[in-house]
């Protein structure tokens, strides 16, 4: 059983604090993805787990062992680096076997385990080549092979796919997921790409400026973002954010949006807002759809007309650009048809799926979801 546990972990460079007392519990054989914009502290956090950066304060545990002061080699982890970090002067075979050789395993066992890993990753033909003679995707595979050969307690991935082209990235993403199914070790994975995070993770950890903003399953962080940052970071295209004010209309709380648009406060949020409160309404493009081109089970709906300025056809759907007040908004048109010029369409907004955030704090008015699923 290998849990990874971070308690009040701080990283400082001199006076500058880059990771602020974060807490995180990673379960055995869980695939956890740390995601956030560059400079959010996700890579630093990973490197602290690896032991490549010292922690300034707090406790890191791998399994039952406090590893604060342990060097990387005593943590039984392996890591895949962004630039692969293959040893340029060794063949693929030597690269794969290096860790076992250092640990002084007998030659026959090294050969056996290297062959196994090579087979899992389809490296058979490449074993005697040097890294310089491999393509990007092959290097990526060797780096993963080197990680699995040692059968560590925890795998750490530091943006492993960001040097690959788009097509290969999708392919390797699937391979990583398959790999996890097969070896079932605990994985901590760092990326800035929210699609990667969503597709791979059992749980996503969203970070910003050295803080953890939210921890949860992909669907949880998608359906219940704790704040406007998470709301805008997760999901593509990003969630529309419209500012408005809560007013009373016909005895029911409504939100007065810019551009003379008023929508009722969604039922589930009614007890969480007060009249006069400034709020931000979050609407995903998926929940703002032209009439007849949306999802079928949308529940409570508000309809209004918008003129479409641009449409981006993607085949199965089109992204429509329009404005509400001064805000540009994006909607989605399923089963799309061509849009001519500045066409005016009736849009349905799915009230049940809108999110309400306090304008001042940016926090979800429904409160935070806990760290579990």
């Amino acid at each position: 059983m290998t849990e990874v546990s971070l308690q009040q972990v701080v990283k400082r460079y001199g006076q500058l604090e880059v990771v602020h007392a974060i807490d995180l519990e990673i379960r055995h054989s869980e695939f956890v993805v740390l995601v956030g914009p560059s400079g959010c502290g996700k890579s630093t956090t990973l490197r602290m787990i690896a032991g490549l950066e010292e922690i300034s304060d707090g406790t890191i545990k791998i399994g039952d062992k406090v590893v604060n002061k342990l060097p990387p080699r005593d943590r039984n982890i392996s890591m895949v680096f962004q630039n692969y970090a293959l040893y340029p002067h060794m063949s693929v075979r030597e690269n794969l076997g290096f860790g076992l050789k250092i640990a002084k395993h007998p030659e026959s066992e090294i050969n056996k385990r290297v062959e196994e890993a090579a087979e899992i990753l389809g490296l058979g033909m490449l074993m005697d080549r040097l890294p310089a003679e491999l393509s990007g995707g092959q290097r990526q595979r060797v780096a993963m092979g080197r990680a699995i050969v040692r059968n560590p307690d925890v795998f750490l991935f530091d943006e492993p796919l960001s040097n690959l082209d788009a097509k290969l990235r999708v392919q390797m993403r699937t391979e990583i997921k398959k790999l996890h199914k097969r070896v079932n070790n605990t994985i901590v994975y760092v990326t800035h790409d929210q699609v990667e995070a969503m597709t791979l993770a059992d749980r996503i950890v969203i970070m910003r400026d050295g803080h953890i903003e939210q921890v949860g399953s992909p669907l949880k962080v998608f359906d219940h973002p704790n704040n406007t940052f998470v709301a805008s970071f997760i999901g593509s295209p990003p969630m529309n954010q419209l500012s408005g004010k809560v007013i009373e209309k016909e005895g029911v709380p409504h939100i007065d949006l810019e551009g003379n648009l008023t929508i009722p406060v969604p039922n589930r949020a009614r007890n969480h807002v007060q009249v006069g409160q400034q709020v931000i309404v979050g609407v995903r493009p998926d929940d703002l759809t032209p009439e007849g081109h949306g999802m079928s089970d949308v529940g409570e709906i508000v309809s209004f007309d918008l003129s479409v300025s641009i449409s981006e056809p993607l085949g199965t759907e089109s992204i429509l650009f329009s404005t509400i007040g001064n805000n540009e908004v994006q909607g989605k048109m399923l089963n799309p048809r061509p849009i001519e010029g500045e066409e005016r369409l009736t849009f349905n907004l799915s009230l049940d799926r809108t999110h309400l955030f306090d304008a001042e704090t940016g926090q979800n008015v429904l409160g935070h979801s806990d760290g579990s699923n």
């Binding site: 690896a50 032991g51 490549l52 060097p71 990387p72 080699r73 982890i77 392996s78 890591m79 680096f81 962004q82 630039n83 970090a85 293959l86 040893y87 340029p88 002067h89 290096f98 860790g99 250092i102 640990a103 080197r146 040692r150």
Partner: protein, 281 residues
């Protein structure tokens, strides 16, 4: 112009340029194998008429001879001094270069600049202060004294060159090795050192050649067969009224050969080293 004539012209051009560059060297080597009369003949005899080993016999004191130069002692001194100072300069260069490339510490840039500035002082300007200091310390005419001087001369260069090489090795490689189970020390020896080998080899050959060929300081700081090196030994051929050019050229040949052989051995590294380290240095 066909590509073949172009190649031919290139070869002829290269040959002429190389001939001009290597002429003095060739002349010295040839003269080492010719009798004195032929060397001093006027007008000059360009094509050697008679080759002989008499000059070598003479300096080694074999057979009938007037001059015997303690060339074996000089050779021994040169080997000991050049090799030791090179080894020390390389060890210091590796440690220093690695520290400058990998670690952050106070006054790092100032220190590096100081090392580089020390290269701007012409060696000969140091000869008098060094002489006085060495005389007080009793290091005149010792191998140790000269080794110390050469180490000091070479260390800034070796640090600079080796630093450039370590800088080009991504630090993730050592980190990957550490994650793979290496200690910091193992990661260095098994990953970073082999990758910087060509740079270290180039730094080594340069340090060796500098020590091997150095004349000005050695001539001030050495006196006898205790510490005299080959270049200083050359002046033994200059007597009050005569200079034994033939003997001098023969000895120059002896000096050139080891340097030449060494350069050929590491030539591959040297080329890779100079182009590789030179870019980022």
């Amino acid at each position: 112009m066909s590509s073949q004539t172009k190649t031919t012209l290139n070869w002829i051009g290269t040959f002429i340029v190389m001939l001009i560059i290597t002429m003095p060297g060739i002349w010295v080597i040839l003269s080492g194998f010719r009798p004195l009369q032929e060397i001093l003949a006027k007008p000059a005899i360009w094509i050697p008429q008679r080759l002989t080993l008499d000059n070598f016999r003479a300096i080694f004191g074999i057979g009938e001879t007037q001059i015997a130069i303690p060339v074996v002692a000089y050779f021994r001194n040169s080997i000991i001094i050049a090799t030791t100072s090179t080894l020390v300069a390389i060890v210091v260069g590796i440690s220093g270069g690695y520290a400058f490339a990998r670690y952050r510490f106070r006054f790092k840039n100032t220190l590096f600049l100081g090392l580089m500035l020390s290269r701007t002082v012409p060696g000969i300007a140091l000869s008098l202060p060094l002489f006085i200091l060495w005389a007080r310390l009793g290091w005149i005419d010792t191998q140790f004294g000269l080794i110390l001087v050469y180490v000091a001369l070479n260390v800034p260069f070796t640090i600079w060159l080796i630093d450039g090489f370590f800088r080009q090795i991504p630090k993730e490689l050592a980190e990957a090795a550490e994650v793979d189970g290496c200690t910091r020390w193992q990661a260095f020896w098994r990953i970073e050192f082999p990758l910087a080998k060509s740079g270290i080899a180039s730094a080594g050959i340069f340090a060796f050649l500098t020590s091997w060929n150095e004349y000005a300081l050695a001539s001030n700081l050495t006196r006898s067969t205790n510490s005299k090196t080959l270049p200083v030994g050359l002046t033994d051929f200059i007597a009050q009224f005569t200079t034994d050019w033939a003997g001098m050229c023969a000895m120059a040949f002896i000096i050139i050969v080891p340097a030449l052989v060494l350069t050929f051995i590491v030539q591959k590294h040297l080329i890779a080293g100079l182009t590789f380290g030179g870019v980022k240095g």
